[in-house]
Amino acid sequence: MKVALFIPCYIDQFYPKVGIATLQLLEKMGCEVVFPQNQTCCGQPMANSGYEHITGDCTKLFQDNFDEYDYVVSPSGSCTLHVKEHIPLKGRIYELIEFITDILKVESLEGEFKHKVGLHQSCHGQRGLHLSQMSELNAPFFSKPEQLLKNLKGLDLITLDRKDECCGFGGTFCVAEEAVSVRMGQDRLGDHLKNGTEILTGGDTSCLMHLEGIIRREKHAMKVMHIAEILNQAIS
């Protein structure tokens, strides 16, 4: 299966390792992966700040890069949601995890990852893309990221007090509402620290970048890995 990779702008620039892990993981699962070279950004940073009306050029560029592919895959729930809601494509975009569970139909993964892992659910992945059940709704439990993590040998998935509270990143919110943003991040980390997370993971690098910024400032021992990095490492 041929897959076009959408690597969001900040992952491209600051977290190439997440892009590499995503590419390698998809290849291990039998996909032919291509990276259209002229891609940049989906336009979400502007749109969420109220400037959707100036994202036309980004939208067009995105379509020019991805319209020829049936499957576009991205290791970011937030950017994927933005594309789904705002950029019409000839094919379809999937967040990495949902692509693995829903299109590649992977029920569970064989592999090993001997760590205490805390999963941070990104709001756009969870409440936007429905990657897992939301704590507000009276509905049966499911979780696509947990489905892939839980059978890895040695992986101890941490139970949190608040399993799906927002980390406070929120795009430009993280600087426009700096005080609340940081406080929300500190509280999310507090929950993980209290419950024993050694490696913090999630499907959105933006949340993780914000949380990692606080971890490093406050000198916590917790490590941060994108879920693609864990899966890629575990099944190699």
Partner: protein, 461 residues
Amino acid sequence: MKTHSEAAEVFNKDFDRTTWHDQTLFMVRQKRDKAAFQIDDWELLRETASQIKNNVLSNMHNYLLQFEENASNNGIKIHWAADAKEHNEIVYGIISDYYRGEIPVDTFKGMVKSKSMLTEECHMNEFLAEKGIEVIDTDLGERIVQLAEEPPSHIVMPCIHWKKEEIGELFHKHLGTEKGNKDPQYLTEAARQHLRDKFLTRPIALTGVNFAVAETGEFVVCTNEGNADMGAHLADVHIASMGFEKIIPQKKHLGVFLRLLARSATGQPITTYSSHFKKPRDGQQMHIVIVDNGRSTQLGREDFRNSLKCIRCAACFNTCPVYRRSGGHSYHSAVAGPIGSILAPNLDMRANADLPFASTLCGSCSNVCPVKIDIHQQLYKWRQVLVQEGYTSMSKTLAMKGMSTVLSNPSVFKFSGKVGRMLMDKLPFLVNNNMNPWYKQREMPEPPEESFRDWYKKNKK
């Protein structure tokens, strides 16, 4: 006036208090979850309520006229107020008529009020105070903030931001309770005695309205303290103020809304009192003031009309991680929280342009909303409207336009990415400084040597 982010920064200076505020409200959210999940058909109930309200919004005119006719036949006098000022003048007019134009100058001329967020929205207390009429709030929480000369910080729990020690202090000062006594039962009893006197001596009572039934012309007021009943039953004149969106078509629909309201608000199966008012007692006057105050405008905004489905349960407040960590007063609006942030810009875009940005768009608000208002989608849409109407700073617009140019231009993007990472690496003080709000309490990401696309070119192409 401070913007939400400025006020929130002040709020967050007290770390422990912010922790306490967050935990107190999250506990209410958990109570809501527990109550909601005991009902198998909870999601169906929400959907049903949403559809009933959609029907109301689409037939508002007819239901309001039907309600007016039936209520009038029941002996209730209906008044229509186009805006806050008219509402306040109508209420003043009713008081003035009661005293035949000569409002006595003594302590018994005031009015008792049970919690009504609409009168907060209309700033009625201040208006009547200027006319020499004292309004006593009789809801305990509301009375506390009134004594403290503050607006409520929450629409269901107005003094949720007060600790019991502080309430003890406040009551000591105003009600003469023992200094240092913070026992809730003792303090509540003191308030009860204090309010009992007001109930017995004030001839006019004002209540809010939770639901107005078009079919029967009756209205329902939900309280836990019974203060609406106490006020209304002892008064010669009962005035009920309602925003026009409080209408529901039929009495049987209460079976949907009463099940949702208290569970969503506090996790109770139902409020202690659900009081139905249908007609005045012999010798009593009953008035309903139906208020527009911008609601027609909101009804006409396609993207925002369904915010008028709101039944004021405040579930969106309690679940909102931003509200819990910034407090109600940061929203500088009678209705705070996520729902307030989509209602307030309709009333005054300039004054409330900051509110739709006081959110991470996490979407938890929409999920708990018992009438399924798409709150976070409307926050997003308000941002677009506010920017396009010009309620944003020039510097932000310039920054966004610059960003858009870079991001829509692959070669500029690659070049500036490379330069940016190089500068961050070699001259970190360029970004690691006080001008950068990210850096205040967070480290910047460590710039890697090569971007993903560089790696890809080298290894895969």
